[in-house]
Amino acid sequence: MNRAEREHIEIDLLLEAVFRRYGYDFRSYARASIERRTRVFQHTSGCATIAEMIPKVLYDEGFFSQLAQTLSVTVTEMFRDPFFYLSFRENVVPLLKTWPHFKVWHAGCATGEEVYSLAIVLKEEGLLERATLYATDFNDRSLSIAKEGIYDLDSLRKATESYQLAGGKKSFSLYYHAQYDAAAMDAELKKRLTFSNHNLASDHVFGDMQLILCRNVLIYFNRELQNRALGLFTESLVHGGFLCLGSKEELQFSSVRDEYVKLDPKAKIYKRTATP
């Protein structure tokens, strides 16, 4: 048996140990990415083999929490895919304007950059006051960064171009307050925002939402877990509500595809059909 085959077994056993010991189920994640991150973690942790990580996971909670941090990809950015926000302004905003109040579920919000981007768009469209935003993730460390809303100043400056490409109407620096190398997002953006822990692999539906965003999360799930998450979204979304996915994510192969029409095939904006 070659090294790759053996490692495959080791990773199966490791993920099984993580699941049975801590309840986090990475067994249904897209495997190639999980394997890569496991190997990266193995090297930084100094373990000679992946198998050597198994007893550590079982007996050392600190070790597990570092591993879980590596396995949950925390990468995100402000106004990623500016064309998505442009399309959102064009295709979703006009309908949101017809509702006196609406609820938004932002699933897999990571460290919050995307939620603040959305809040900025809603504010510029005069909709923020009518919105209640529930941002969730299963990573508590990310959530606490999101809640604080303090980011590296350099990365915010770099996002200025994306903000403008996303149809931004003002000066981006109006939305944060810089101090030394960091900047805090404007308090007004946070007023309509609540952050909480929700695991798409094990938790349940979230309530009557008019808009659900879940971008670049499903790409990390296998088809089965994708269908679970999409089932949750569909149950949580009112008829006529909107679902926004990442630009490389599709409903086409999912079990809920017939429930939606595609509003923008490139920006991956879907609308739940109006009648049950």
């Binding site: 048996m1 790759a4 897209a30 495997r31 190639a32 394997e35 890569r36 990809v73």
Partner: protein, 222 residues
């Protein structure tokens, strides 16, 4: 741990199944790679059917234009790689800008927005390593022109797992740094200019392809 589990054990240890042709050709390219890539694609015979996976460093605003451009240069099907879609023969898959391209064991593609590797997304290391873990000795990895050392570590993994490594000859490359880094780290023996890379790929793949597609008519085994 060594691979030496074979020493006289009273129990049978499974050995890997022997399989025919190569499963994929993975190509990594960066600055100056388009010229080399064009030469390779135009040098491949029409019946070359092994799928090709390409990680080319692109600007994040590319939005599929590179794949469109490539498809004008070759009669081969060229597509932007899609997440969870099975790899088909005769097709070249391009890693979309701002996504890593990986391979799953069930023969499907996977995309990810994991952090950049060597300042790059797509990263050639990520593609090579993941393809090596799936295809092992059935992978050919090719590293072309570039001004970075992305791909060198991936190439090392390809070689460690029994795959074939090919590098564009640095003296032919517009930017020699990338192939040179891979040659140094992974001790690549096959170092060629792009047109000869095309020939080499055919030599490696076509006979096995034929053997696979015509076994019945010729009485099966040879």
């Amino acid at each position: 741990m060594s691979e030496g589990d074979k020493e006289s054990s009273p129990w049978r240890v499974p050995s890997p199944p022997r399989s025919g042709t190569y499963g994929a050709v993975a190509i990594g390219a960066s600055a100056g790679g388009l010229r080399s890539l064009t030469a390779i694609l135009q040098g491949l015979p029409a019946d070359f059917s092994v799928p090709i996976l390409l990680a080319q460093h692109l600007h994040s605003t590319d939005e599929g234009r590179f794949a469109d451009h490539l498809s004008e240069l070759t009669s081969r099907t060229v597509v932007d790689a899609i997440d969870k879609v099975s790899i088909q023969p005769r097709t070249l898959y391009v890693a979309p800008a701002d996504y890593h391209l990986l391979v799953e064991r069930d023969g499907t593609l996977a995309l990810s927005i994991d952090a950049r590797v060597n300042y790059s997304r797509p990263s050639i290391d990520v593609l090579f390593e993941s393809a090596a873990h799936v295809f092992g000795p059935r992978l050919i990895a090719v590293i072309l022109s570039g001004a970075s050392s992305d791909g060198a570590r991936g190439m090392l993994v390809v070689k460690e797992l029994g795959g074939v490594g090919i590098a564009e000859a640095p003296k032919n490359a517009e930017f020699p740094l990338m192939p040179q880094a891979a040659i140094d780290l992974a001790h690549i023996e096959i170092v060629l200019p792009p047109d000869r890379i095309a020939k080499k790929l055919s030599e490696l793949c076509i006979p096995a392809q034929r053997a696979l597609s015509e076994p019945a008519q010729h009485g099966g085994s040879k």
